[in-house]
């Protein structure tokens, strides 16, 4: 019996959690997989790069996610997490300078597409710059095709679709 009854309550609750498999599982998930309910769609572009990086690595690179969560639980600072995650993703062939750039989607540089290169469109006549805006008329009605390289297995896939057409 301690002097502070609140501490007794904590000990009691800790014992209940330890002895109940369901509560123990919930506690373990909160400890080891804190982002289990989050999806990339839940993240806003304004959110910090670390949050997006954790969501992305959880889906695409679970081992990097595990390393990042372990470091968070060990008290590693956000400043130290940035080079760890970027370094691990870079080692898999996707150059990443900092976590902030993860908010901008697929890294074109990694696929060899340097849009700022003045010769890019001459060397790739099958690619045309096309502004896609969802609030400017006329809406784009063409079929757009993108090539996507999946982060988890490195495979390429082609997706086509009609973007920004008005809904009728």
């Amino acid at each position: 019996m301690t002097a502070n009854p609140l501490l007794d309550t904590y000990t009691f609750l800790a014992g209940v959690v330890r002895d109940d498999p369901f509560l123990l599982l919930a506690n373990a998930v909160a400890w080891l997989d804190p982002l289990w309910t989050l999806d990339a769609d839940d993240m806003e572009l304004e959110d910090d790069g670390l949050g997006i990086a954790l969501v992305v690595t959880r889906r695409a690179f679970p081992d990097i996610y595990a390393g990042a969560v372990e470091r968070i639980r060990a008290g590693v600072s956000k400043a130290a997490l940035d080079p760890f995650i970027c370094g691990e993703i870079t080692r898999r062939g996707i150059p990443l300078d900092n976590l902030e750039s993860m908010s901008y989607g697929i890294p074109l540089d990694a696929a060899g597409a340097l849009l700022e290169d003045p010769d890019f469109y001459r060397q790739h006549p099958d690619v045309v710059p096309h502004p896609l805006c969802d609030n400017i008329l006329p809406y784009s009605r063409r079929i757009h095709t993108v090539w996507v390289r999946f982060l988890d297995n490195g495979e390429y896939a082609r997706f086509s679709g009609i973007w920004f057409a008005e809904l009728s």
Partner: protein
Amino acid sequence: MTRALWTAEDLRECLLTLPPLELKGMALLRERRPANCFFPTGIPRATMVEAITEITAYTERARRMGEALANLTPIPLLTQPVLEYGL
């Protein structure tokens, strides 16, 4: 095909016979949790990464199963009497 009578109570008893899930993270919590804080500390990095990898895979499986269950196509039970919900 065997015609069997299953009740909700039978199903409950069947599920209760399953052993509780035991993940590495649960064992770490049970064995290494200090008395004065929520989560254990000082666990070797490799052990932590192993536990996180396992529980992340588990939560993903659980999430996908939940999505699949939420989108199940109704299956008419024409030969299986369920006494509690008989019309």
